[in-house]
């Protein structure tokens, strides 16, 4: 999978990383039992602080999405789930927002508001 962190984004780096793992699991790109790259390795690759990666991994662990094991790194523990209905709804949301000319930030703000 692709991990990317943008210092120019308003979201903190660890939030960006955790969000990408969540999305990859939801899309079925990361399956149950699959291993994430080691925190040290990922930090070196992205040229970011080790603690940023660890914080993202800890957040995912607290959500029950991954398991952290000494020496074995991070393993995805998401139960298999059919999210196709959600994906379809997201696609519809994006299409409607685009056709109405609503800015992406406004759309995400509305979604965040609704989820609260």
């Amino acid at each position: 999978m692709l991990f990317r962190v943008d210092p120019a984004s308003p979201d903190p780096l660890f939030t960006q990383l955790a969000g990408q793992v969540r999305a990859a699991v939801a899309r079925g790109e990361l399956a149950d039992g699959e291993r994430l790259p080691g925190a040290r390795e990922l930090a070196a690759s992205l040229d970011i602080n080790l603690h940023t990666v660890l914080r993202a991994y800890q957040e995912l662990r607290d959500e029950g999405l991954i398991e952290l094991r000494r020496g074995r790194g991070a393993v995805v523990t998401a139960p298999p789930q059919d999210n196709s209905e959600l994906h379809a709804a997201v696609e519809t949301l994006v299409r409607v927002a685009r056709s109405l000319g609503i800015a992406p930030q406004t759309t995400t703000a509305l979604v965040k508001e609704a989820l609260r």
């Binding site: 999978m1 943008d6 120019a8 390795e41 992205l46």
Partner: protein
């Protein structure tokens, strides 16, 4: 653009001169032992002892010819396609390893028959086989070590504008991680290792643990690879960490998606040298990531979603040229 193949004289020494010298050893040794050797020596051994005989020269010639054939083929491979150090290394190890193995085998076979009047009673071949095998592996490793590494060749020209790229922000960092695997080889190999181990335990043959561990090591080092693309380039490494291949970012001319047919293009599966000197970790038929390197070199690895990896490599390569 074709760049010249480097280190051709070293290649010639390692793949032709050394193997031919090794092939001559049995002739010299047989000459020195002439008075002690029987007229007809045993050359083939079945379950009940020797089952084929030949003259001393007739015992040596077939292996000498085999050595020469392997040496010439290895020389041609490295001389014409040896732009990558890995190709030259495979050629040198094959030629020298084979020559050392066969020569040791023949010399050992003659040695155990010295002074015998009845060669039907020849014994000690198991030891000869083991020693020849060890000498062959050792010589191959030495030859591979003697091959010069590729010089660092940073790319001069920019990444072609036609290359696929990723929409990465100017300060955005990215890494792409995936696996190249051969699930069938992994399952079959692990089963063989476990069965051997189980057999050893059940039959009380503890020495069977040796082949079991050997098979497990081979399986882990050749059927499952982590593939990583980041600011430093492309890295492909096995589950046990070795072997490990890397292409530094500044030596990448262009990355692209390709379709690999291992048997037709690489003559098989695994870590391979393919037609034209392309090097690859090819574990299945289908999609692969191909990296064109400076110096006319190319590296391929079979992965899913190679498009993302290729686009990221091109983006990061272009970025590395600026700074």
């Amino acid at each position: 653009m074709t760049s010249p193949v480097p280190y051709r004289s070293v290649t010639t020494v390692l793949t032709l001169v050394v193997p031919l010298a090794l092939a001559a050893v049995p002739f010299v040794v047989a000459g020195a032992w002439a008075s002690e050797l029987p007229d007809q020596v045993a050359v083939h051994f079945g379950a009940d002892g020797p089952d084929r005989y030949a003259s001393v020269a007739g015992a040596i010639w077939p292996t000498a010819i085999a050595t020469v054939v392997v040496a010439v083929a290895s020389w041609a491979l490295a001389f014409f396609w040896g732009r990558t150090a890995q190709v030259r290394r495979v050629a040198a190890a094959t030629a020298v390893g084979m020559a050392a193995f066969l020569s040791t085998l023949v010399v050992g076979m003659l040695d155990v028959q010295r002074g015998l009047t009845d060669t039907a009673g020849t014994t000690g071949l198991g030891l000869v086989m083991t020693v020849a095998f060890a000498v062959g592996i050792g010589a191959a490793a030495l030859a591979a070590w003697a091959v010069p590494r590729d010089a660092h060749q940073p790319a001069q020209e920019p990444v072609p504008p036609t290359a696929a790229v990723l929409d990465l922000g100017p300060d955005e960092a990215a890494v792409w991680v995936t696996h190249a695997e051969s699930r069938s080889a992994l399952v079959i190999g692990s089963s063989v290792a476990l069965l051997t181990l189980a057999l050893g335990l059940l039959l009380g043959l503890p020495f069977l643990a040796v082949p079991a561990v050997l098979v497990a090591a081979i399986v882990l080092s050749s059927t499952w690879f982590t593939v990583m693309v980041d600011r430093r380039g492309l890295t492909v490494r096995s589950a046990v960490g070795w072997p490990r291949f890397s292409v530094p970012i500044d030596e990448i001319r262009e990355a692209a998606v390709t379709t690999v047919s291992p048997l037709a293009e690489f003559g098989g599966w695994g870590y391979r040298v393919g037609r034209g000197g392309r090097v690859g970790v090819v574990l299945r038929t289908g999609e692969g990531l191909q990296v064109e390197r400076t110096g006319g070199r190319a590296f391929v690895v079979t992965v899913d979603d190679a498009a993302t990896g290729a686009a990221l490599l091109n983006t990061l390569a272009a970025r590395s040229r600026v700074g």
